[in-house]
């Protein structure tokens, strides 16, 4: 039985959240009554003309630069000709052989391994309207009619095509997630799979390990979450291997992921492959990108997820913590960055942010943007903890107080009477008191019973009204007992 190597490429469509559509001034909005954000251009009325949204092109270039692509000095739009009811002109304005971005890459970490996934191209196109298939199941196969809403028609869409560098469903998922993170970081799209503002298709094939030639490629569509993307690709790999191992032949086709069935289904076959008859769109002029513009866009790029993860690692965070902190909301990450800049210990700060602070936000149902806990607050709190001014459990209370708007950590600790006693003289006095009252405990401890220390610490804590720093109590007790 030979071993098989999966070969996977991912195609992503990203809806840009520009104010207006790609080729007309209709608003880019989601939801809303059908056919209310339409004009002659996005409705394909006779006589209408497209005009390119300059911001969308800049944003495409930014995406390309974030993915280390080459930006074409001159680029054009093509008409992709095919008939479909939700495509009002029955051609889509897209890019064919002169896309704005080419030859980039994205580094992705999967199971501790770092892989570089090639990006073949990223180009601009316009989205289609929405088809609502009426009839059983809302699917094409059993539809009795189709209702059309053109609100989405003409929304700017960036298509990003990876090279077939992925070798497992898990890698594909990681690539998809990391690509999404880059797009979200740039602020160019909401990039939410469940809303359809980011969509993934996969091209999957298998070949005997060691073979150079690619196997038959199958396109998989309709994966609506990262989890289903991974499941779908894994399922398809299995299917293909099963077919080939039983001597069957694979057809180059498009298959639809069926979440319920847990398998990919063939779609009704199209008559031959499509001939899109691409030609340069004569209604639009070529886009010439000046080097100065490219430099400016590059300089203005925000810190990208991969770079951020690297920075966290360098601060000493181990990989799990790096991942959790990286995927935290930007507001939380900012608190972390601010605290570290003020001298807070990165590991402590990261643990607090990803642990207690996140939990507190959830508990109080506060949005990160409304949070009243800042970098200086975190720094102050951590200082109090490491100096023993508050115990760890008291610190959680202090956090709650700061988030409730009661003031700085020091003020809250004071007001809520949470300050620990760390004065050695005070504690020693209590130690002496307790030891004096418990002579048999001393005997038992010196006799080897370690457990007794717990009882004695408890007694000292009681004597100090619970305010003594337990760690300090422990060490002073031991000193006294030795």
């Amino acid at each position: 039985m030979s071993t098989w190597e999966p070969v996977i490429g991912i195609e992503v469509h990203v809806e840009l959240r520009t104010i207006s559509k790609m080729f007309c001034g209709c608003p880019v909005s989601f939801g809303g009554e059908p056919n209310t954000a339409i004009c002659p251009t996005c409705l394909g009325l006779p006589g209408a003309l497209p005009v390119t949204n300059g911001t969308a092109i800049e944003w495409l270039a930014r995406i390309g630069l974030a993915l280390h692509c080459r930006i074409a000095p001159s680029s054009v739009f093509h008409r992709k000709n095919y008939f479909y009811a939700d495509l009002p002109k029955n051609y889509q304005i897209s890019q064919f052989d002169l896309p704005v971005c080419t030859d980039g890459w994205l580094e992705v970490t999967v199971d501790g391994e770092e892989i570089r996934v090639g990006i073949e191209r990223a180009h601009m196109e316009e989205d289609t309207g929405k088809s609502l298939h009426q009839g059983l199941g809302g699917r094409i196969h059993s539809a009795t009619s189709t209702l059309l809403d053109f609100n989405r028609s003409g929304v700017p869409l960036v298509e990003i095509v990876s090279r077939p560098d992925l070798r497992s469903a898990a890698q594909a998922r990681a690539y998809a997630q990391d690509l999404r993170a880059v797009v979200a970081e740039l602020g160019v799209s909401d990039a939410r799979m469940e809303e359809g503002s980011i969509r993934f298709d996969a091209n999957v094939s298998v070949r005997p390990t060691g073979q150079e030639e690619f196997g038959t490629k199958v396109e998989i569509k309709n994966m609506n979450s990262f989890r289903s993307l991974e499941r779908a690709i894994a399922s398809e790999i299995e299917r293909q291997i099963a077919v080939l191992e039983t001597g069957g032949v694979l057809t180059q086709e498009t298959r639809h992921w069926d979440e319920e069935a847990g398998a990919t289904q063939g779609m009704r076959s199209k008559e031959g492959s499509s001939d899109y008859r691409y030609f340069t769109d004569p209604d639009l002029t070529p886009m010439v990108m000046a080097p100065a513009t490219i430099d400016r866009l590059k300089a203005d790029l925000p810190e990208l997820p991969a770079d951020r993860r690297g920075r966290y690692s360098h601060l000493g965070l181990e990989s799990h913590l790096v991942n959790v902190l990286s995927s935290s909301e930007s507001g939380l990450r900012r608190v972390f960055d601010d605290a570290v800049a003020l001298g807070a210990d990165p590991v402590m700060a990261a643990n607090w942010i990803t642990g207690e602070v996140t939990a507190a936000l959830r508990r109080t149902e506060t949005a990160t943007d409304d949070m009243l806990f800042t970098g200086p607050d975190l720094t102050g709190l951590l200082k109090m903890v490491s100096e023993g001014a508050v115990s760890s459990s008291a610190a959680k209370e202090v956090l709650t107080g700061v988030m409730a708007g009661e003031g700085t950590p020091a003020a809250v600790a004071q007001a809520r009477d949470l300050i620990q006693v760390s004065d050695e003289g005070q504690i020693n006095a209590a130690v002496d008191e307790v030891l004096g009252a418990n002579p048999d405990a001393i005997v038992r401890f010196r006799g080897g019973e370690e457990k007794v220390i717990g009882f004695l610490v408890g007694q000292v804590m009681k004597a100090t009204g619970g305010k003594a720093d337990p760690k300090l109590v422990n060490s002073l007790l031991r000193q006294a007992l030795s």
């Binding site: 339409i38 390119t52 009619s145 189709t146 053109f150 004569p282 002029t285």
Partner: protein, 96 residues
Amino acid sequence: MPIEIDIVHVARLARLALTPEELERYRTQLGVILDHAARVQAVDTTGFAPTAHPLGLTNTFRTDEVRSPLDREEVLSQGPLVRDGYFEVPPALEGT
């Protein structure tokens, strides 16, 4: 020598439901026109890029701002079949 044209395929690409007689007539006519037009193939056009815009314009963009959409009722009034604010069509045989 008339050019061989797969007129059935071309008519399907262009979504034109033509009768066999019509298809044959158009096929012949197209052949004649293309014979004439094919003279361009003999011309040496090395070194010439295709014309993108007769005056060579580039970078004509619009600002990212909203312009009032059309009135929905006026638009739907032109629709051959509308339902609840949507355009309605028979079901599709093929997906995309």
